[in-house]
């Protein structure tokens, strides 16, 4: 198994020369076995379901717990061999680390496709059934298709060892220009536009709802005002200039403590940071407890139940 986790290049049972019939044979057999396992799970009795999910969750988390607790190899150099069981397990855990990391990346990538599949399904059905909003669904599907086609085409051009350098816009072909238009000209600008809409709602909500009806609301508002004013260099410059004018000397003095920049800095360092730190500690304790409960499938979530 170490041959796989260490991703050793010399021949091992877990690898085969690329493009070889041996590799493809093993791939196909492994895939068929994997599919067979899925089919077997589909036909498994209901009582097996919860243990299967719990065991897979536990084994996945077990690696990281053992990785944290097991003694790590010290000053390991390439080509070193382990001496003893403890060292051997340490080597194995260390070699497996990027593979296990990749496992998360690959599975997350496959699951991200769920959202896209869902979009295709819902909007595809709307178009096929002639829903009243079919036009907008068609626009969405056309967007997916256009970006998919030109995005891949542009990528293939960039990865090609032949052809001119695409770092220069003058060398762009039609597909490169369309990809740039769709991504940079439309997608990114609309992304920014969507996010900027929140500014309007913040202003409107603050005007309508931000009322000093209690001590808490007053404290919140006062701090927000001080922080917003401290972002305005013109205001801090003017107010600090008033203090400088009263102070009259070039040396720092007691009155410097009343400058808006100093008040904001003190508030940030002495009250804001510790209060957020307290929130963070509370969240951290909760996350640790939740992590343990999820790992041991003690939490009755949609995953374990």
């Amino acid at each position: 198994m170490n041959g796989f986790f260490a991703q050793v290049i010399p021949p091992s049972p877990f690898n085969a020369p690329n493009g070889s019939a041996e590799l493809w044979t093993r791939l196909v057999i492994a895939l068929l076995l994997g599919v067979a396992a899925v089919v077997a799970l589909m036909k498994a009795p209901v009582s097996v379901r919860k243990p299967v999910v719990a065991v897979s969750t536990f084994c996945a988390g077990l690696y990281w717990v053992v990785f944290f607790l097991w003694p790590r190899p010290v000053n390991r150099l390439p080509g070193d061999m382990p001496s003893g069981l403890v060292d051997g397990v340490g080597f194995w855990l260390e070699d497996a680390n990027p593979i296990v990391g990749n496992l998360s990346n690959v599975l997350s990538a496959f699951l991200l496709g769920l959202g896209i599949y869902s979009l295709l399904r819902i909007h595809g059905m709307r178009v096929i059934k002639g829903h009243k909003d079919a036009f907008f669904s068609a626009v969405l599907l056309l967007g997916i298709l256009a970006m998919g086609v030109f995005g891949y085409w542009d990528w293939l051009d960039k990865m090609s060892p032949t052809g001119p350098s695409l770092a220069l816009e003058a060398n762009w072909a039609f597909q490169n220009r369309v990809r740039d238009f769709l991504f940079d000209g439309l997608l990114q600008e609309m992304d920014a536009g969507m996010f900027s809409l929140i500014a309007f709602y913040i202003l409107s909500a603050a005007y309508r709802a931000f009322r000093i009806r209690s001590i808490e609301a007053t404290l919140l508002l006062a701090t927000a005002f001080i922080v917003m004013l401290s972002f305005m260099g013109l205001v801090t410059g003017l107010l600090d200039g008033v203090i400088d004018g009263i102070k009259g000397t070039a040396d720092p003095g007691f009155l410097d403590n009343f400058k808006l920049t100093e008040i904001a800095k003190w508030l940030r360092a002495t009250v804001e940071t510790p209060s957020l730190r307290g929130i963070d500690f509370g969240i951290g304790i909760g996350a640790l407890a939740m992590g343990l409960r999820l790992w041991l499938s003690l939490e009755k979530t949609a995953v374990s139940s």
Binding site: Q188, D191, G237
Partner: protein
């Protein structure tokens, strides 16, 4: 037939609390549009976290390689692009090589590549050496799982990015990134003098959790993430922090004036370290920070006035109700 009932005329207090939302929207659009036509320089005093960030980046050894996690897209262009642009200008002027990777958004790598391309073109237009992909920087790609990726980087950076290839030049095949001049000398993440994250999300949490102690960390975050990330800066888990538009402006100003410079009458004073850090006076240092700062003043003033007016209306209404 019922006679129509005319509603009583609104008092001053009610009028104050009844400004239509479309009026507010229009005022906001005007407040954020008009100042953009004017180039105004306003005073600004950089914050200590920004000063620490600037001095850290300026102290990077020439020719060294740093890792940049770039997790922003144009949705936060206002904050992040100005920060990234300022950072790239400093790195390119000091010949610092960098490798970028992303974990938060599939669009982030392309946005970062576009920004690097723009800053590099800016150098080419001035007759300076442009930054060349493969020689000066590499793109390690997008990884959907931030926790796993940063864990892998902490354990073995070569294995974390094993199999990543780039095309060294026209007519050349895709080659392992660890054969590029950027990463050939990197065996572990600690070989890099700095890991920077430019982010609009909470990926700096994940980086601190997995990479603190292995490599010095610094961050450029949006305004929303500022208070939370300040907690890490305060505890020493980050060596520098640049927050929002103000942070971008701080960096731009320090690029112009330096820190503790000139020694006899410094424009920006670093209270933690008296070392003089000369900037790049007279060079192209301005960006989004300077361009957007005056407009930010007007927008924040509008926000403050809106809240004050609403509260004045509330107080007057209560007084009126009591009497």
């Amino acid at each position: 037939m019922e006679t129509p009932v005319t509603p009583p005329a609104m008092g001053f207090a009610e009028k104050l609390m009844s400004v239509k939302r479309h009026t507010l929207y229009l005022l906001l659009i005007v407040a954020t549009s008009v100042p953009t036509f004017f180039s105004i320089t306003l005073p600004n005093k950089p914050d200590q976290p920004s000063i620490d960030f600037f001095t850290t980046v300026m102290a990077l050894p020439e020719g060294s390689t740093i890792l940049i996690e770039t997790d922003w897209t144009k949705s936060t262009r206002g904050d992040s692009m100005g920060q990234m642009q300022a950072l790239l200008r400093i790195l390119m002027r000091h010949n610092i090589k960098f490798a970028i990777y992303s974990t938060a958004d599939p669009a982030a790598p392309q946005v970062a590549r576009d920004t690097i391309g723009r800053v590099s073109e800016e150098r080419r237009a001035k007759g300076e050496r442009p930054y060349v992909r493969w020689e000066d920087w590499v793109d390690l790609g997008y990884f959907p799982n931030s926790e796993a990726t940063n864990n892998a980087i902490a354990t073995n950076i070569r294995k974390a990015f094993a199999g990543k290839t780039e095309v060294p030049g026209v007519g050349q095949p895709a080659t392992d990134v660890f054969r590029s001049p950027v990463l050939s000398h990197i065996q572990k993440v600690g070989d890099m003098p700095l890991l920077l994250v430019v982010t609009a999300s909470k990926t700096f949490d994940i980086i601190v959790e997995r990479l603190y102690g292995k490599v010095p960390l610094a961050a450029m975050v949006t305004g929303v993430m500022g208070p939370e990330s300040t907690v890490y800066y305060a505890s020493g888990q980050m060596v520098g922090l640049c927050v929002g538009l103000k942070g971008a402006l701080d960096i731009e100003r320090m690029m112009e004036s330096g820190v503790n410079n000139p020694p006899d009458k410094p424009v920006v004073v670093n209270k933690k370290n008296p070392e003089v850090v000369p900037g790049f006076p007279g060079d192209d240092n301005e960006g989004n920070g300077k361009a957007y700062y005056p407009t930010l003043h007007l927008a924040l003033t509008l926000m403050i006035l809106a809240v004050i007016i609403g509260n004045i209306g509330m107080v007057l209404t209560r007084k009126g109700a009591k009497s």
